[in-house]
């Protein structure tokens, strides 16, 4: 029985990794052709990402947007999570649900709403519009991680600090913040990776002027193949693995994803 289980899990793993492995193979083709198994070996296409200004520009846009948008997402998520944790009011729960909503709905809905919004107020086509749109869209991730972090805080600790005369600010900076910092960082990391990969909102809000890497790949896909696309795909997959690997290394990933606490197992 155990053997069947192992074989099944390995089969699923192979299915899930097959496309990425083939793309990794394709990305090292010597000629500019879509061949697998690859003919020859070169890493030049990875260099092209930095050498060709059109690709490098998209890379810069993507990284800048992801950095600012995830910082913005954390700045909105933190007060919402704290507010709900401090007083479990109807308004707090409502705010929390609104924060979860963008992620529960098909993204094209939010994307179209934001497109119409930015066209109306005149921000359409600007990078700032993409940053704000991504920031609000991705609030869900830090919101979930920070709420989990707050749940794990022993409230007696906070009470003790208050009894000893600490005001709200001191309690926050000396007790709460150190305890939830890992969760803030995870939330930031999740939002960062998702912003890097996000297509439809970036495309609708400013896709014709602010090209991000996913937009650039999709545009190139229409006008013919270049191995740089494959190289970007591999780099993106690696970035995700490294980021989530770090989160797992320094945090409790199973708990972050909703499993019961480690010692309970």
């Amino acid at each position: 029985m155990k053997a069947i289980r192992v074989v099944f899990m390995i089969a699923v793993f192979c299915f899930m990794s097959a496309p990425i492995l083939v793309v990794a193979g394709v990305s090292v083709n010597e000629k500019k052709r879509l061949l697998f198994p690859p003919k020859g070996f070169t890493l030049d296409w990875y260099g092209e990402l930095f050498a060709q200004s059109a690709w490098f520009n998209a890379l810069q846009n993507s990284v800048l947007i992801a950095l600012f948008a995830s910082a913005l997402a954390v700045s909105v998520a933190l007060p919402v999570a704290l507010y709900l944790w401090q007083r479990n009011s109807v308004f707090g729960r409502l705010l929390f649900s609104i924060g979860l909503a963008p992620f529960m709905l098909p993204p094209v809905i939010t994307a179209l709403g934001l497109l119409i919004f930015w066209v109306s107020v005149g921000g359409s086509g600007h990078m700032a519009a993409t940053v704000i749109s991504h920031g609000v869209f991705l609030v869900t991730l830090p919101l979930v991680t920070i709420s989990l972090g707050l749940e794990s805080i022993n409230r007696q600790l906070v009470e003790a600090a208050r009894t000893m005369g600490a005001d709200e600010k001191t309690v926050f900076f000396t007790v709460i913040r150190p305890l939830i910092t890992p969760y803030i960082v995870s939330g930031f990391a999740f939002a960062f990776v998702l912003s890097l990969n996000e297509y439809i909102i970036a495309y609708m809000v400013a896709g014709f002027t602010v090209e991000t890497l996913p937009i650039k790949i999709f545009n190139s896909l229409r006008y013919g193949y270049t191995p740089v696309m494959a190289a970007v795909a591999v780099i993106f997959a690696l970035v995700s693995v490294v980021v989530f690997g770090l989160v797992a290394r320094y945090g409790d990933l199973p708990r972050l994803l909703g499993a019961a606490a480690k010692d309970a197992k």
């Binding site: 029985m1 793993f13 700045s75 939010t110 119409i116 709200e168 795909a233 994803l257 499993a259 019961a260």
Partner: protein, 294 residues
């Protein structure tokens, strides 16, 4: 007296400062999420102006177009395709996640990192990867040729099976991560008890684990369905134009047909379908009899 005044004004100042962050967060969510949805709802009743965007009006023309046989077919196709992908994904993901939660912690973390990485991968990249894997020159058929199964390599996309495969791939990590909390909190004693009473592991899985997790399974299928409805790139890269889903048509109307009112009306329809579905998962109940929170 002055000390009292000091502390009073201090409290007042502390109060207003304390409210600043939640007010900022509410304004951000309201301004950049709720108001855009509100404007979109308004625009869905507006009148389309050829060559320009739209002009304010209140007409149901955009909604009346849903009665078109063409759009009924699109809606029906989108829903059918998403249900098929969601059901297949959950059929694979449920036994997979069950096995995963019973694996060593290290294995679990490895699988979770891997699945999170795939989940966060841009749909553009997934579409490109699958089109490569299904292509004639670099695809899986070359492997079959090498093994002597086929004479010649072939392209398997664009086609409906390719699209379905892509959507299952897209939603699989999502379904695993939705199932993971519930299954990892499932009391191990439950299946142990069944095993002690002589049930085989397979029998235990089907007669104990699956029935206990029924509600979780239904909720997960619905959530995967809504998730798949949002797929936008895959229908364009792996499918043919008749396979375009509602999400693709919304973008097409908004960007290429410059018909924002109609795009908005379709988005509102998609929003309603999704909200009803999410509401059903809440009604089905988050708690299974023995399982933990879903």
């Amino acid at each position: 007296m002055s000390a009292m005044e000091d502390s009073a004004s201090g409290a007042a100042r502390g109060f207003s400062l304390k409210l600043l962050p939640p007010v900022y967060a509410s304004v951000m969510l309201g301004l950049f999420f709720l108001i855009p949805l509100g404007i979109m709802l308004a625009v869905s009743f507006f009148h389309r102006v050829e060559g320009a965007f739209y002009e304010p009006a209140f007409e149901l023309t955009n909604y009346a177009r849903f009665l078109d046989a063409f759009f009924i077919r699109i809606l029906g196709f989108s829903i059918g395709l998403s249900i098929a992908a969601a059901v297949i994904a959950v059929l694979i993901a449920f036994p997979f996640t069950y096995s995963l939660t019973r694996a060593r912690r290290g294995t679990q973390i490895f699988a979770l990192v891997f699945l999170l990485a795939v989940l966060s991968l841009s749909e553009v990249i997934i579409g490109f990867s699958w089109s490569t894997l299904l292509s004639r020159t670099a695809g899986v058929s070359n492997l079959f040729v090498a093994l002597g199964l086929f004479e010649r390599s072939a392209a398997y996309y664009p086609s409906l099976p390719a699209l379905l495969l892509g959507l299952v791939y897209l939603s699989f990590p999502y379904t695993v991560l939705v199932l993971y909390p519930a299954l990892s909190r499932l009391d191990p004693e439950l299946s142990e008890a069944a095993r002690m009473m002589g049930a085989s592991p397979v029998r235990t899985f089907f007669t104990v684990v699956v029935p206990v997790m029924k509600r979780t399974i239904i909720s997960t299928i619905i959530l995967a369905f809504v998730f798949t409805l949002g797929a936008y790139i895959l229908p364009q890269t792996l499918g043919k134009p008749p396979h375009w889903t509602l999400s693709v048509h919304i973008t097409d109307q908004a960007i290429f047909e410059a018909n924002l009112p109609f795009a908005a009306a379709m988005a509102i329809l998609l929003l309603l379908v999704s909200l009803v579905m999410v509401a059903i998962t809440l009604l089905v109940g988050k708690e299974d009899a023995v399982g933990g929170k879903a």
